[in-house]
């Protein structure tokens, strides 16, 4: 398996992230955020490391990782598309956009395309509700998204 060395390298990174933040009050979320920022996701192998640094049980850390929607447990595609599913966007055609996006990418929410170009996630409000429908690609928000605009965003991506 080629995964072992990568995961060993991750172990060092994860431990360092956890140790440098261990004294912060309520450190677990900041640590998990930093792991995801650096690795793109929170690998299962992070759970025992973070647990031992913070003197928590693995169950407690796992419970937190799995509670929050924004923590990924698997590596993301090159870009992540967050499509807003909330009411303001629904009022402006988000359901059609969702169907089109899933069909074009050939995946459902929480999945990644086989060429690893895109991951697709639902999101409940980007605060862009006066320019609906909206989606975010990585950290860039797009508003008033039409079917044509969606297609060109996918081509650019």
């Amino acid at each position: 398996m080629t995964e072992a060395p990568a995961s060993a390298a991750h172990a060092g990174t994860i431990r360092e992230i956890a140790e440098t933040r261990a004294a912060v009050p309520g450190a677990l979320l900041p640590i998990l955020h930093e792991i995801q920022d650096q690795l793109g996701y929170v690998p299962d192998s992070a759970v025992p490391i973070v647990a031992s640094v913070l003197n928590l049980s693995r169950a407690e850390v796992h419970g937190v990782v799995s509670f929050y929607h924004l923590y990924r447990r698997t590596p993301p595609g090159r870009r992540t598309i967050y499509l807003c599913r909330a009411e303001a966007c629904q009022a402006m055609g988000a359901r059609d956009l969702e169907a089109r996006l899933k069909e074009k990418l050939g995946i459902d929410f929480h999945e990644t395309t086989s060429d690893e170009r895109f991951s697709l996630e639902p999101i409940y409000c980007l605060g862009n509700c006066a320019c609906s429908p909206a989606l975010m690609i990585d950290e860039t928000v797009h508003g008033r998204v039409t079917a044509e605009r969606l297609d060109s965003l996918l081509e650019e991506g």
Binding site: G26, L28, A88, A91, C129, A130, C131, H142, R144
Partner: protein, 514 residues
């Protein structure tokens, strides 16, 4: 910067950028360079007139002239028309302040939004910034709390609890460590007021939290900020660093000898963490599970210490109350709803944006006078007020005044002021289903009515929509809603049935087999 440099304002707010503000700014810079026109581009915040974004403004003879919505393709034509001196063009809107959408508002909390460059502490100070803190530093703690009480300010997150009373409880509760927590987990669809403050006027939040800290004796503040707002996170962090640098935050606030530290804590996409006790759990590094109350967070909050938990818009309103006085603020509004309300027009609306007005105008006035009807041009069928847990309001109730009590009387809520408009193509059966689906996705799982009830709610609605024992299942749905309302621990399970019940009551024709 030279005094006679031509200043062109292009908003740097997420929504403006989402519809092309960066490309417009680049086109203006490029075209100015090609034509040898010396300009300075200021990336201001947004005025909140989102239907006009990207809204470009030019400073002409001490007045700001607006053009919008501008596309990059418009830019050469704007230069041809002499827009740098306020020239006429198809996108010319006239003086920004004179636009009816803006002149018809009472901008108190949002007075500076779009006016100043959010990154500039200097700009903030030139526009009354930090005058509130200055006034507060001359008072003792009880006098500070009394100013807030006198203003009649109520929590803007939805519950409308009097802010001064909450502060009093924290002040009166002994504790060696106290906290101020800003709820910036603005998760309700249709709301963007908090994001707009953070991206357009971040120092006002810092100032408001500092005053809160000094008033109740808290030395540490946290802004619990949604991960869905990456730009707001960056803007707030930059502003906090600038405030620390200038001595407005830290161990010795403005030489007063009193400490207040402030930190942004990034949330992780759980809607329930907008509920204050669940937010405190999350800040402590745990799953965002709702706590039983009592004890109230004001008595036993973050890490067990007395904690002020306020909504972001509430805290951002504090500085102007200290600049102008509690009485000034109290003079706006009606009944027990004092001051201003921040309406956010969203969804299928022609003129979507932020409208800050005194309480008491009717829903219809706001939807028509400001909103101009739907974006699609079709009739409005329903408005969801107060986020995903708010009722769908039919047109027959549009004459309801916008205040907390009047909305409660019709079984609706103002919440954080978001109004999501739907035209007559909306399928209210699907909207009812979504309310339950959302609750099922976002339930923290602590109490059974919410955790199980929401899942059963989706199933029962699916049965109705597919024609299985419609009458029986409609009755079951009402019964289930009652159980959730009465038996849930917090507002998520307790209010998720409200949109469903409003559909059953006002749009029963959509909750049938198809």
């Amino acid at each position: 910067m030279a005094g006679d440099t031509l200043r062109i304002y292009v908003p740097n707010d997420t929504a403006a950028r989402s519809v092309g503000a960066d490309a417009v700014a680049a086109a203006i810079e490029r075209t100015a360079g090609e034509r040898g026109v010396a300009i300075e581009i200021v990336r201001n915040g947004s005025r909140g007139l989102y239907w006009l974004e990207p809204l470009v403004e030019v400073a002409v003879a001490g007045e700001r002239v607006a053009y919008g919505p501008v596309t990059p393709d418009d830019v050469p034509g704007l230069f041809d028309a002499g827009f740098t001196t306020g020239g006429k063009h198809a996108r010319h809107l006239g003086a920004t302040e004179a636009l009816p959408y803006l002149s018809g508002q009472t901008r108190l909390t949002f007075a500076r939004a779009g006016l100043i460059a959010p990154s500039s502490l200097e700009d903030y100070r030139e526009h009354e910034g930090y005058r509130g803190l200055e006034a507060a530093l001359a008072m003792d703690t009880q006098a500070m709390v009394d100013v807030v009480k006198e203003s009649g300010l109520r929590g803007r997150g939805g519950a409308g609890f009097p802010t001064g009373i909450k502060w009093q409880t924290v002040l009166d509760t002994p504790g060696t460590q106290k906290y101020v927590v800003c709820n910036a987990d603005e998760g309700d669809s249709g709301t963007f007021a908090d994001r707009m403050i953070m991206e357009s006027d971040p120092f006002v939040l810092i100032e408001g939290m500092t005053i809160a800290g000094l008033a109740v004796g808290a030395t540490q503040g946290y802004i619990y900020l949604r991960a869905e707002y990456p730009q707001a996170i960056r803007t707030m962090n930059t502003a906090i660093a600038a405030a620390e640098q200038a001595g407005y935050l830290g161990a010795d606030v403005c030489g007063s000898g009193r400490a207040f530290h402030l930190e942004v804590r990034e949330a992780a996409g759980a809607y329930i963490c907008g509920e204050e006790t669940s937010m405190l759990e999350s800040l402590e590094g745990k799953r965002g599970m709702v706590r039983y109350r009592p004890p109230l967070p004001a008595v036993k909050g973050l890490f067990g210490a007395p904690t002020v938990v306020n909504n972001l818009t509430t805290l951002a309103t504090v500085p102007i109350i200290f600049v102008r006085g509690g009485e000034f603020y109290r003079d706006f509004g009606t009944g027990r709803s004092r001051g201003t309300l921040t309406v956010q027009l969203a969804g299928n609306i022609k003129r979507g944006g932020l409208v800050e007005i005194a309480f008491g105008r009717t829903l219809r006035e706001v939807l028509e006078d400001f909103g101009g009807g739907t974006a699609t041009g079709r009739p409005i069928r329903a408005v969801q007020a107060g986020g995903p847990l708010g009722a769908y309001i039919p047109t027959s109730q549009f004459d309801t005044p916008l205040d907390y009590e009047a909305f409660a009387e019709i079984g609706a809520m103002l919440g954080h002021g978001g109004l999501v408009v739907f035209d007559d193509t909306v399928d209210m059966g699907q909207q009812a289903r979504f309310a339950m689906e959302f609750c099922a996705i976002e339930s923290c799982g602590k109490c059974t009515p919410c955790r199980v009830g929401a899942v059963r709610g989706v199933e029962v609605i699916d049965k109705i929509l597919s024609g299985q024992d419609e009458a029986g299942n409609r009755e079951l749905l009402e019964d289930l809603c009652g159980t959730m309302v009465d038996g849930s621990l917090c507002a998520l399970g307790g209010m998720a049935p409200f949109p469903v019940l409003s559909v059953l009551k006002h749009f029963p024709e959509d909750l049938v087999a198809r």
